[in-house]
């Protein structure tokens, strides 16, 4: 089959690789109809995630049709149409049983690699480094899906791929971010990052009852997309380095009730501290550039909530911890437990409360995946999200 392989920094190639096989008896094989590039794929593209091997198949947002099932698969059959959540979960461990699907204790055969850097391990993720399991990803014609009775969600016929594809990651991650803000009537939510996750967090915050949403980014067409959903926006590059003052003025001098970091390790801006972060990240003194994180910690109102869904891989410097400790900030974060939310979100799509296809600005054949990475990485041509057709 054809698959998009990581071949080094800024180097992905669509190559011929072996077809996936049933390796465990709870596996299914999916023939992929649509697959997407995630903002987090750019971390590997830019060489910021360790434990990558040349030839690793990328991609963790995919859907399609079941073409083969292992002996132990009971709830799915050949021909079923499914979306596949990015966290691989066993459904039986302590974590899965309480809905912490992305923290599954059984699906990361390389847990030992994570324990070295993170203390304890998470579950596996498709096409997302060896440290997250070493699973082949879904930017391909076919993919192997472990624990097929637990992970895929069946999708009714008659609804197009683009409306449900983002149930794999971007929509539930944005929704999880908003849900973690514990939104109360009258609340103002500020969201750093107007990429796909920030866009879904914006719409989710309104769905969950936020009165105002303020979105911060520097890419105008992305801010426009947030305004289309009813958000107010700030281009931080136009604030003369006074972003925090601008946000304070917009929120009655008190600050947003909750702030979401939908940016993560590849943040830009931040003046001198930002330049230092770039240098430290380049020489591996710091794995992440935590500019957005510092800002959300400073901007949120006293007693407010900080919700983090932007990816961080390791160590960060100059975090204003006194700000969150003394002001009693609640911080919640994590990789979204997609399987906990996807039934509810599919319902919202079917009821017409949201149409996630707005975020898909580009559709390319799988053969042109490298071009898709360039479009997303360079934010060219109004690109927010690239959908690939195998």
């Amino acid at each position: 089959m054809k698959a998009n392989c990581w071949m080094g920094t800024k180097n992905v190639e669509v190559q011929e690789v072996p077809d996936p096989k049933i390796l465990n008896q709870h596996d299914a094989i999916v023939q992929i109809s649509s697959t997407a590039i995630c903002g987090s794929d750019l971390h590997m593209y830019n060489g910021l995630l360790p434990t990558m091997d040349r030839g690793d198949v990328l991609g963790h947002e995919f859907m399609g049709e079941i073409v083969e099932v292992g002996r132990e698969v009971k709830n799915l059959k050949v021909g079923d149409r499914v979306i596949v959540p990015f966290p691989i979960s066993c459904g039986n461990c302590f974590m899965c049983k309480q809905g912490l699907f992305s923290g599954c204790e059984n699906t990361n055969p390389n847990a030992w690699q994570q324990e070295l850097v993170w203390g304890h391990a998470t579950g596996g993720v498709y096409g997302y480094s060896h440290m997250l399991g070493g699973y082949a990803g879904g930017q391909a014609q076919y993919a192997r899906v472990p624990f097929a009775d637990v992970n895929p969600l069946k999708i009714p016929a008659g609804i197009e791929d683009e409306k449900v594809l983002f149930l794999t990651d971007a929509f539930p991650t944005g929704y999880f971010a908003a849900h973690n803000c514990d939104i109360q009537p009258g609340d103002t939510i500020a969201i750093w990052g107007a990429g796909p996750i920030g866009q879904f967090a914006t719409r989710s915050a309104f769905l969950l009852g936020a009165e105002r949403v303020i979105v911060i980014d520097r890419v105008d067409y992305r801010l426009q997309m947030a305004r289309d959903a009813g958000a107010e926006t700030v281009n931080f590059e136009e604030t003369d380095g006074l972003l925090l003052d601008v946000i304070k003025d917009m929120t009655g001098g008190r600050g947003p009730d909750a702030c979401i970091d939908a940016v993560g390790m590849q943040a830009t801006g931040g003046g001198l501290l930002g330049v230092m972060d770039h240098v430290k990240q380049a020489v591996k003194l710091e794995t992440d550039r935590p500019l957005a994180l510092r800002e959300v910690m400073m901007a949120v109102r006293t007693g407010g909530r900080v919700s983090i869904v932007g990816d961080y891989a390791g160590l960060i410097d100059n975090v204003p911890f006194g700000a969150v400790m003394n002001r009693g900030i609640t911080m919640r974060m994590g990789q979204a437990p997609v399987q906990k939310y996807y039934h509810e979100l599919l319902d919202r799509i079917l009821k017409g409360e949201i149409d996630p296809s707005f975020v898909a600005t580009h559709t390319l054949p799988l053969d042109e995946t490298p071009r898709g990475y360039e479009l997303m990485d360079n934010k060219e041509d109004g690109c927010v999200k690239v959908v690939l057709k195998p």
Binding site: A3, C5, V17, P18, D19, P20, K21, I22, L23, N24, Q25, H26, D53, R54, G55, D56, V57, E72, C90, N92, C93, F94, K97, E105, N106, T107, P109, N110, A111, W112, G124, G127, H130, G133, G134, Y135, A136, G137, R144, P146, F147
Partner: protein, 174 residues
């Protein structure tokens, strides 16, 4: 060399003890074991895979056996690897499954065989015992050892690229 590793499993002490106590089950989750044959009177014969198609073998004797709580063993005279150990099964707090703790001691001989055995344990014996214990948890909680594309060959500590294998199962030499 002493190794101590602990894991918590969503099963009862009784189920876990019973599975482990049937030593012929152990190769299902201990990566290097080829076979264990129970020979009677608390004795068993163990055969482990070593690099270059070689094997190491030993006889073991059960030294302690408390149903649903504890199994202890040690190797008998003439073992390629002198080893002893215990596995304990203790109910976790609040009904949250069972804490399984393995303690092992072993002495690899010097010389070429010692080198072979160091390789057998991938020079990370600590890690290898933990990997086996994790695989035990996977077997008890999900029914099988969970595989990813990168972890198919020999020991999990050795990686292949994260793309599907050409054939499955892998040929013996892999």
């Amino acid at each position: 060399m002493n190794v101590k590793k602990t894991v918590t499993i969503e099963s009862s002490p009784e189920e876990l003890y019973n599975f482990w106590h049937n030593f012929e089950n152990l190769p299902r989750f201990m990566q290097h074991l080829e076979s264990v044959r129970v020979t009677g009177d608390g004795r068993s014969h163990w055969k482990a895979k070593a690099p270059a198609g070689q094997t190491v073998e030993w006889d073991a004797q059960v030294t302690e056996d408390e149903p649903n709580r504890l199994i202890g063993w040690h190797s008998l005279e003439g073992a390629d690897v002198q080893n002893s150990g215990t596995v304990r099964f203790t109910p976790a707090t609040g009904g949250r499954g069972t804490v399984v703790q393995v303690e092992m001691q072993y002495d690899a001989p010097g010389g070429p065989l010692g080198v072979l055995i160091a390789k057998l344990f991938n020079e990370e014996p600590d890690q290898q015992v933990f990997e086996d214990l994790r695989a035990f948890k996977q077997v008890m909680e999900t029914g099988e050892v969970v595989l990813s594309d990168a972890t198919l060959s020999g020991t999990r500590l050795k990686q292949r690229p994260g793309q599907p294998p050409e054939t499955w199962p892998l040929p013996e030499s892999a």
